[in-house]
Assembly symmetry: C2
Homo-oligomer: 418 residues x 2
């Protein structure tokens, strides 16, 4: 056949080279160890999900980016198809939260309560290709299902900062807010329930366009100056401690449930003792987070050296109810796995305690008996934790050794026929 | 919204519960350690592949089982589509060998020669659902690319039996044959080149229908009695040692290249010394293996306690040439990951050295200062390798503890408000 096959990966996806995989494996192993020590149990869901679940308004913008899988056999009716979803019965998951909610609904009888889940898995989004962003990428989530108390939030933040510290990072700032507080602030300013989604989308741009930008965008969108001024007033000179939460609570009296303020200040109190050495909790009334499914506290973690968020999450008490008809308290946290790998690669991170690597180079035509002796030496060394590569000696031995050095081989042993 | 979402995974796929994941993680970790000690480098390719590559006649029957992914946006022309592949631009990989060949072709300049690759990843086949067979399942492959010598075969068998031994298995029988020998035997019996694929499919049923069954199926298929008798004669009373290889070589003189016989006997000689304690190499002229891409030696590993194969592989020197225009020697081995997990689950396998698990049960309303002390105790224990679960104390504490016991918690500590 003369037609050559396609060498490049599909658009937006990536072949992982050995040097990157070594770091990825190390990070995954550390994730399992650290989160495991907090009692999170590793689970997995299929990467393929029902199209009905994927397109159920739980995924926000991500639902526009689904890789859809075609029906097969008789079920595929090309001539009769009107729309995309007539042809598809499933698709690749765009996150790990929706599949987890399905998983919990399907398996709750076999799970220990509260269920603490760890997931490490690929998700897929047909985003416009751009540098550093891929259409298949790894997410790493921890979730606590069935615990309504704020112990859940504290454990999630503690576990995540402990993990990031183990990976060599520090200076964590944990920004915290609450969706219920966001709603109360909107109501206090005079926005209607229906207007809130748009208001939040604009507020969410604070990082990029600043307070003035948010103010003018809100006014351009047609919201009254009174409401906008009252709203913006809430975000001026707020205090980022528990005291600041209380002060906003006082302002919002009548608009906000006292339980919301109690929940937030309790988290501050507990975190102050538990994690004070590891992270700074910082109240941020402007924190929105994109996903529509959040119902309570929301979080983002920033690290000193890097100015964007490396982890985030929140409470989504309503999603499991979409499967079972009954809401179940749920709270989750996702670390930016790919972002962390990129930072480690940029830093020139070396995996600690990787084994010594030796290459045995064997001349062509070695007889069986001699080869057996060589194999036995390799076996012994491997049993002692060494990496031993056995390869045929190349004609250009110098080039071969230079090449092996690049791959981390530091010792060579040449074996000749005679 | 009243429409409930779908709780079950998509047809033929599986949610992984914690008890199974613990074993899967342990096996994967052992795979990385053992294969790593042989110098195999862990790599990954995307699970999504170009539809052109997947449908290129490299996958045999698997090409009928592809999950196809729909084009997106303007590229999707439903009204103008005549056939399935007008609508699809990619699909889920059905094995790891084709993506590896693409990967090597795309990245060879960044790889050390010979390239020893380890892949652990999910593959997808829309097979008819049946017990114990899934549409998403894990494969674990090792491949050596760029080594034409039979050192490659020996290393693959050695690495695989070492791994299986580490997982507690023993009594390995490694059946070996060579595609070139299979062809020579066919030619010797008088079958034409064009008839060989069908003849091999029938021969491959030897395990199930026996020698007599193969004989009658060949005759039913219309092949002449002379050819069939001569063919079947080759498989009667053959000797499964290097001596047997030589004897068949003598019979086939004129039909078989002497290099084929030399290659096989050399592998016997080397394996005899190197692995005699770990496995028995057994020549089997009836071994076919399904995939059409094999070009030389083929292998299957059986274990004493289980009568079907748990690993297999062979040489496929032609596949990379489909991408680059130039053939490159390649040889690979795949372990039946899912089969091994099933066997371990059935045996009641326990992961060695899993950490001690303690649960801290905390009464509702614990104040921040006390909680901080509890968190610190948990932190210390976790740093010492213990698993510590922090959970709110349930009203029915007895039920809660029974439940935790099922998940492996052996110690409890109750914390009350006062």
């Amino acid at each position: 056949m003369s037609d050559k096959l396609i060498k490049k990966p599909v658009t937006g996806m990536k072949d992982m080279l050995p040097y990157e995989m070594e770091i990825r494996d190390y990070v995954e192993q550390t994730v399992r160890e650290v989160y495991g020590s907090f009692g999170f149990e590793h689970i997995e869901t299929p990467v393929v999900e029902h199209i009905e679940n994927l397109c159920s308004n739980q995924g926000g913008e991500n639902e526009k980016l689904i890789f859809k899988i075609m029906k097969r056999g008789e079920k595929l009716d090309i001539a009769g198809a009107k729309a995309e979803n007539d042809l598809a019965d499933s698709g690749l998951r765009y996150d790990l939260t929706l599949p987890l909610s399905r998983y919990y609904s399907n398996n709750s009888q076999s799970l220990v309560m509260p269920f603490k889940a760890l997931q490490i898995g690929n998700v897929f989004r047909a985003d416009r290709p751009q540098k550093g962003r891929f259409r298949q990428f790894k997410q790493c989530d921890i979730d606590i299902i069935g615990d309504p108390s704020n112990l859940a939030e504290i454990e999630l933040v503690n576990a995540t900062t402990t993990l990031l510290k183990r990976l060599g990072f520090g200076g964590f700032k944990v920004r915290i807010n609450d969706r219920r507080l966001l709603k109360a602030m909107g109501a206090y300013a005079g926005f209607s329930e229906a207007e809130l989604p748009e208001v939040f989308i604009i507020l969410d741009k604070m990082d990029k366009i600043g307070m003035d930008g948010v103010e003018s965008e809100l006014k351009e969108a047609g919201y009254g100056a009174d409401s906008v001024d009252k709203y913006i007033g809430l975000f001026k000179d707020y205090d980022d401690t528990a005291e600041g939460v209380r002060r906003i609570g006082d302002k919002l009296q009548g608009s906000v449930d006292a339980g919301v303020i109690d929940d937030l200040t309790e988290i501050f109190a507990a975190a102050a003792g538990a994690g004070s050495a590891d992270f700074k909790l910082s109240f941020d009334p402007t924190l929105v987070r994109g996903m529509g499914y959040y119902t309570g506290t929301i979080f983002e973690i920033e690290m000193e050296e890097f100015n964007s968020s490396v982890a985030g999450g929140g409470r989504y008490d309503g999603m499991i109810g979409r499967f079972t008809g009954q809401d179940v308290p749920a709270c989750g946290f996702s670390i930016g796995f790919e972002r962390i790998i990129t930072i480690l690669l940029d830093k020139g991170f070396k995996v600690p305690e990787s084994p010594k690597k030796t290459a045995f180079l064997i001349e062509k035509g070695m007889d069986g008996e001699k080869l057996a002796l060589i194999m036995n030496e390799a076996k012994e060394r491997r049993n002692n934790g060494e990496t031993v590569l056995i390869a045929r000696m190349a004609k250009n031995k110098k080039f071969q050794k230079e090449n092996l050095e690049k791959s981390g081989y530091t010792e060579y042993k040449d074996f000749y026929r005679n």
